[in-house]
């Protein structure tokens, strides 16, 4: 359990620092790379929560595909080296109290309702078969619907990208 505590703290710090840098960084590509560290930290947290399959999916889908897509899009259009101006709204200062209020309310509600419930101690890894049984069993219809969403997204992307 010691290891889990220590690694939770390390990943949590990485994730929070990375998330703050996504919001404050003055370069779009840097923001994207900081987001990669947040996503990698999330994958680490999933492994700590004995959700290996979700962690690997996180790496495959987010780091391997979504972030590459982001960087690709950024670099195709405009990706200047060095600092960029006017990335923030002029009234950016107003966002901070709103976000703090949001965080305060959510964490109050979470601590109030969950208190200090301990995680179960057993470190049994959720096997892939259990997840697939779940997705292809009770969730079959949503799964189907989602595959249509993906198909629609693919067709939409092709339509958007075509010049003629």
């Amino acid at each position: 359990m010691v290891a889990q505590n220590i690694f939770f703290a390390i990943f949590a710090v990485i994730m929070v620092v990375g998330a703050l840098r996504v919001v404050t960084s003055n370069n779009v590509v840097h923001a994207a790379l900081w987001l990669v560290t947040v996503l990698a930290g999330a994958a680490g947290q999933y492994i700590l929560l004995s959700a290996e399959f979700v962690a690997v999916t996180q790496v495959l889908v987010y780091i391997g595909a979504v972030m590459v897509l982001f960087l690709f899009g950024t670099m195709l259009t405009r990706a200047r080296l060095g600092e960029e101006t006017d990335l923030n709204n002029k009234t950016w200062i107003l966002g901070i109290p709103v976000a703090l209020l949001l965080f305060g309310t959510m964490s109050y509600a979470l601590i109030d309702s969950f208190g200090d419930e301990k995680l179960p101690e057993d470190a049994t890894v959720v096997s892939t078969q259990v997840i697939s049984d779940q997705i292809f069993g009770p969730y079959l219809i949503p799964f189907w619907a989602l595959s249509f969403v993906l198909l629609a997204a693919t067709i939409g992307a092709i339509v958007l990208a075509r010049k003629d």
Partner: protein, 351 residues
């Protein structure tokens, strides 16, 4: 499972041994591939001798080259994004080291016995795209950026047929664990005859061919070397790199070739195993301990054969055009691999 070579080791010793073993499993194939194929086979195919001076038959040439690279100055362009420029080759190399972690070399000689190992390997191999992309961007060079963008487009396009080709194997073995896939191949039988097991190259021939083509593209080897096409882009995303950062890209390229060959050997050629029927083994626990020594050698042999094919193709074929490359991935490889999955699934249910 913790008794490697019948010696019970504490956890920390096993961990150290596994990390060291992983380093060897990345660097040894890379060095061997560079010497045997890049130096000697390429020279033979071009009717020349290749390096002959350093060591017998030039076998120490590689050490001389590494020494040369290491003493070069660590240069970076003036307008480059220096931090990202510096970490980019490390990202590429890290992806290779993470990739070898799931490759099994024997009944107990594995680095980690991950349950969804195949899935993990495919996921981690896609991280190198990130390194290549930011290397191209951070170089502050138009050719580098173009090379990085070409590489990203190519690697994403060829990752799909690779994943889809492996799914056929996963369906047939009924597992995503490398050890169980190796087991299933060596304990299998062909129409009741178990003399050679059932290596999936026989039943998954289509998948194997697609996988090897996709590997060729993932490694950006000719005929898929548009990202570093020297006649158009100087050297693509590697243009501005020199010294040991170039060495990292270079090691990454050939080490990844070796690791992908190892993965292909485990998936399609029966991995570390010999047909279990020869010695009457029937489960993982009944395998004799000497397989932990012989297994790595078998894997190494298969790796050399497969990477030999990769290099042979590399030295023989001219380069594709960029549009042909994308068309080939999306209009040929992906539909064929989807058909392969369908056929495998139907046959799996039918038998």
């Amino acid at each position: 499972m913790s008794a490697l070579l019948a010696i019970d080791m504490p956890y920390w010793l096993q961990t150290i041994l596994r990390v060291l073993g992983g380093t060897v499993a990345v660097l040894l194939p890379a060095g061997t591939i560079v010497y045997v194929f890049l130096f000697k086979m390429m020279s033979f195919m071009q009717s020349r001798l290749g390096p002959m001076e350093a060591g017998p038959y030039g076998s120490l040439q590689l050490f001389a080259e590494v020494g040369k690279w290491l003493q070069k100055e660590d240069l970076y362009p003036d307008r480059a994004d220096k931090f990202i420029f510096k970490i980019a080759p490390i990202v590429v190399l890290t992806s290779t080291f993470l990739l070898v972690a799931v490759v099994p070399f024997g009944p107990d000689a594995w680095f980690t016995n991950f349950e969804a190992g195949v899935f993990y390997a495919l996921a981690v191999s896609s991280v190198s795209v990130l390194g290549i992309l930011i290397a191209g961007w951070a170089s502050a060079n138009k050719y580098s950026l173009l090379g990085g963008l070409r590489a990203a487009g190519q690697l994403i396009a060829y990752e799909l047929p690779m994943v889809l080709a492996v799914i056929g194997v996963v369906i047939q073995a009924g597992s995503m664990n490398f050890q169980e896939i190796v087991m299933a191949q060596n304990a299998g039988e062909i129409f009741g005859w178990n003399g050679i097991g059932n290596p999936y190259i026989l039943t998954q021939m289509v998948g194997f061919i697609i996988f090897m083509i996709a590997v060729q593209a993932e490694l950006t080897q000719t005929p898929f070397d548009m990202p570093i096409a020297e006649s158009e882009l100087v050297s693509g995303y590697m243009t501005e790199y020199s010294g040991f950062r170039f060495l990292m890209f270079f090691i990454g390229e050939f080490a990844t070739a070796g690791v992908f060959s190892l993965i292909a050997a485990a998936l399609f050629l029966g991995g570390w195993g010999i047909p279990f029927a020869w010695f009457g083994w029937d489960s993982m626990d009944s395998i004799d301990n000497w397989m932990n020594i012989v297994g790595p050698l078998i894997m190494f042999t298969k790796m050399m054969v497969l990477s030999g094919i990769i290099m042979w193709v590399r030295f023989s074929y001219p380069r594709f055009r960029e549009d042909q490359l994308q068309k080939f991935a999306w209009k040929v490889l992906i539909p064929v691999s989807l058909l392969n999955i369908m056929a495998t699934a139907i046959l799996k249910v039918a038998f």
